[in-house]
């Protein structure tokens, strides 16, 4: 009996140690974003640096105000929102249509096309971004939203996920509508899309997070600072001297909030099953 209690105690010590390891950077980020630079440097290394200063709650947002006015942060925030929405909606539109065609229609060379798709999944965007940059450059699409978004929209992987999902929808649902004279487009938008919400949500969230966090590609496409998304702007903030730690941490916090919201809102759609189902 005694042995079991010791093991349980040990287990909780290990769990708490890991919880601290995973949490302390984020807690420090949040707490530091509410303090003055002097407070941060005085408290560094002590437990105090993880505890917010409750005696002056009214000053917590000052670093945020300073950061927004010093770096034109709202422009970059708006850029990120704008780019992300174009990529998310473009991706959902284009890839779901293709996935539907491959799942339902009598597509010529279907076996060859699906086989090619599966092979293309091997090559992620990052492996060919230099060559994509040459194309974008030749088409004079640098410094435009299209240069940023177009290469991110068509995805073999998401077409495949959509295809697998649509294949499971019972034929009868579509066929009765077809007999009633509905067009393929109508059947897709009025019948298939409404009952396929889970897959649209799951892929939408995946694309959203990927687009919001994208860093290297915007760095290549944009040379005008006013067009940078948050990810690039926040790095410039950290490198601009003098770098005020509280402002940097406020910037990192603001960058994180939309992702947090998406995860909370879409909780039931982000399951490990969803993300591993496409691999087999």
């Amino acid at each position: 009996m005694k042995g079991i209690t010791v093991i349980r105690l040990l287990k909780y010590i290990v769990l708490i140690a890991f919880a601290i390891l995973f949490l302390f950077p984020t807690v420090w980020m949040l707490v530091s974003s509410t303090k003055t630079v002097v407070e941060i440097s005085e408290e560094i290394g002590s437990m105090q640096s993880f505890i917010p200063n409750f005696s002056n709650i009214q000053n917590w947002l000052i670093p945020y105000q300073e950061m927004f006015s010093r770096f034109n942060f709202s422009i970059h925030f708006f850029n990120s929102v704008y780019y992300t929405f174009i990529i998310v909606f473009g991706s959902l539109f284009v890839n779901s249509l293709a996935g539907y065609a491959l799942a339902v229609f009598d597509v010529p060379f279907k076996k060859f096309i699906t086989g090619a798709l599966i092979i293309l999944i091997i090559f992620p965007f990052q492996s060919v971004f230099i060559q994509i940059f040459i194309i974008i450059n030749q088409w004079n699409l640098t410094n435009t939203v299209w240069g940023l978004a177009l290469p991110h929209i068509g995805s073999a992987f998401y077409i495949y996920l959509f295809m697998v999902f649509f294949q499971r929808i019972p034929k009868e649902l579509r066929e009765s509508a077809y007999i009633d004279g509905a067009s393929n487009w109508k059947i897709f938008t009025k019948i298939v899309v409404p009952i396929s919400r889970p897959i649209f949500m799951t892929i939408g969230i995946l694309v959203f997070v990927g687009a919001w966090n994208d860093y290297v590609w915007p760095l290549m496409v944009f040379t005008e600072e006013s067009k940078y998304p948050l990810s690039v702007a926040v790095n410039i903030m950290n490198e601009t001297k003098p770098a005020y730690l509280n402002q940097v941490m406020a910037g990192l916090t603001v960058t994180t909030i939309p992702i947090l919201l998406i995860f909370i809102l879409g909780q039931k759609y982000i399951t490990p099953q969803n993300s591993s189902s496409g691999i087999k």
């Binding site: 287990k11 769990l15 890991f18 919880a19 995973f22 949490l23 950077p25 984020t26 420090w28 980020m29 560094i44 290394g45 002590s46 284009v94 249509l97 293709a98 539907y100 065609a101 229609f105 009598d106 597509v107 010529p108 293309l120 091997i122 090559f123 992620p124 990052q126 492996s127 060919v128 230099i130 060559q131 994509i132 940059f133 040459i134 194309i135 177009l150 929209i153 068509g154 073999a156 077409i159 393929n184 487009w185 919001w212 966090n213 860093y215 290297v216 290549m220 990810s231 926040v234 950290n238 730690l245 940097v248 990192l252 960058t255 947090l260 995860f263 399951t271 490990p272 993300s275 591993s276």
Partner: protein
Amino acid sequence: MHNIKQKIKQNKTLDFIFSGKILFLLPAFALISIFVIYPLILAVGYSFTDYYLLKPNDISFVGFDNYMEIAYDKYAKKAFFNSAKYVIYIVPLQVILSLFLATLIAKKSKTNTLFRTAFFSPYILSIIVVSLLWKNILDPNSGIVNEFLASLGFAKQEFFSDPNLALPTISFIILWQGISFQMLILMAALQDIPSSLYEAASMEGANAWQKFKHITLPSIKGQVVFVLIVVTTGTFKIIIEPLVITNGGPQGSTSSILLYMFEQGTRYRQIGYASAITVIFAIILIMIAFVQRKLVKEEEG
């Protein structure tokens, strides 16, 4: 008229085109051709040329020169070697630690939900946020970790400017963020194992390790293989962390394949040379895919 319509209906390809069904496939087909297939062809083509970005009209064929140059380029070799090091440092630890933590908190309870949330929290931070956060935390002069070490009487560590320490430190940061999601996948797999299996084993007198080896591991082998593949490909794709934290330094000790390719392509504008690196990188990805296929096939028996 009726006759022609009939004929079109009978021919699969013609029907696909004239019924408008082709429009469903066309946008994606165009985008993937332009931004996936065409760049791959370009990469192979450019890799045999001396294409310099600022002189697009002055390209000549150089055969295998770029590939030979990679073999003699000290920094290129370092970058490839570093990517292998990242894999060695990150993949085994990440798989083992996420499995370990998943086993500890798989049982559904209120305390475990709390721990799960804590362990999952790094996942919501983007890579750029994680990189900048840890860059500040491990700063040699004003970072909390070094201040903490100093208060305990230890020497301050140059986490990012010591060539022996920089790559392990970045590996740790990547590991710190990566464990969360893999842990979730393995935890879901663990929860799917019927508890009757464990009860039967207990009746037979099996101890905890025997249960883990003979019940747990075989039941979640598929998910472990999945995690292994995802982490390995992910680790080969490392670029943002070393770019933001150390810019590949000191002395190229943290650079990765993709970061080196990015530098050659953007800063030095050597498209031909960068393309040769792309081709080698693509070959590595193909090899990983082959191993994956083999493992999955074995798994299915």
